[in-house]
């Protein structure tokens, strides 16, 4: 009888150890998403996305925050800040100067962008983190298409 209980306990302990190891690998240490390979949840022009946030930031936030969005428009500025490259669709002007959609590019998509002339028509996808009162912010951006 004792042997049987011992066996059951041993099996349960084994299952527990396996579950803990799997949990550590696949849950606690799960990697960040591969943003470059993610398909866009939405595709629209830069002006439409920006205007939706300006008109009703709460409603637009519920729709787009935390989503992969592809935007198309003229990239007015390409900025290099602290080793990061940002594509800027300038669409308005306000307290902080330019306003629009700012996309922090993935490292491997930064180089091609720096070579583009200002005002190039591009399609860029990125992970929307929200609207900060001046700009719609997108991270992990990748260049999908350039019309130059």
């Amino acid at each position: 009888m004792k042997k049987k209980w011992f066996k059951i306990l041993l099996i349960l302990a084994g299952i527990g150890v396996v579950a803990a190891v799997l949990g550590y690998i696949f849950i606690y240490n799960k990697p960040h998403p591969n943003y470059e390979k993610m398909n866009p949840d939405f595709t629209l022009t830069a002006a439409v996305l920006f205007n939706e946030y300006v008109e009703d930031s709460e409603a637009a936030g519920l729709e787009y925050n935390g989503k992969m969005v592809a935007v198309e428009g003229e990239v007015t500025l390409v900025e290099s800040v602290d080793e990061q490259v940002k594509a800027y669709f300038v669409l308005s002007e306000g307290l902080f100067g330019n306003e629009g959609i700012r996309v922090t590019m993935l490292e491997n998509h930064s180089g091609p962008l720096l070579d583009m002339p200002p005002g190039s028509l591009m399609s860029i996808k990125g992970y929307v983190t929200g609207y900060n009162g001046t700009d719609v912010i997108m991270e992990h951006g990748s260049l999908m298409h350039s019309y130059q």
Partner: protein, 187 residues
């Protein structure tokens, strides 16, 4: 005569506008880092998309921080931060609106390093608390101003609840580091 008065008025308005603009220093690339030191693990996250504006005439100083822009080493921590603790879908921005209270001790026209005292309202997760913190302004010869500050906040003050299961993983007080390189708005 009317024409001359009209031209003078336009010039006056234009020069006033220029002066007001020159007093305002801004950045959209400010950096905020937070650090939690707890028995089980240390957690660090950064956000380098911080909007900040300083009016050196009035001392008005504002920040606006998108919570979803905080980057963590571990994806799971980032998920928990946004979904469980900060609820960034409900409260996407944190803000600070305040003033530099010792303006007389800072000469923004002369390069150098100056101690600063900043006082105002910090809003996180929809809850506003008054804070007063010390920091530093470095006025540079190229016309930029570099502001830095380090301070602690108690997460309970902002209704951030930590489940018992992870009580040893998250500190009750978090260290916040602010680093902004402000440029004149008319540049």
């Amino acid at each position: 005569m009317k024409k001359i008065i009209g031209i003078l008025t336009i010039l006056l308005i234009f020069s006033y506008h220029q002066e007001v603009q020159a007093q305002r220093y801004v950045t959209k690339d400010g950096r905020i880092t937070f650090f939690s030191e707890a028995p089980a693990e240390n957690i660090e996250a950064f956000n380098n998309q911080v909007n900040s504006a300083l009016d050196i005439g009035s001392g008005d100083f504002i920040f606006r921080v998108l919570m979803k822009s905080f980057q963590f080493e571990k994806a799971l921590m980032q998920e928990h931060f946004n979904e469980n603790y900060i609820e960034s879908h409900k409260h996407p921005n944190a803000t600070f609106s305040g003033k530099v209270t010792n303006l007389e001790a800072i000469d923004f026209g002369t390069p150098g390093t100056y101690n600063a005292v900043v006082s105002g309202d910090l809003t996180i997760k929809g809850i506003t608390k008054s804070i007063t913190e010390e920091g530093m302004f470095e006025v540079n010869a190229d016309g930029t101003i570099h502001g830095q500050a380090t301070f602690m906040i108690a997460i309970a003050d902002f209704d951030i609840k930590i489940p018992r299961a992870v009580i040893n993983n998250i500190a009750e007080e978090i260290e916040i580091k602010v680093d902004v390189k402000l440029s004149p708005l008319n540049n």
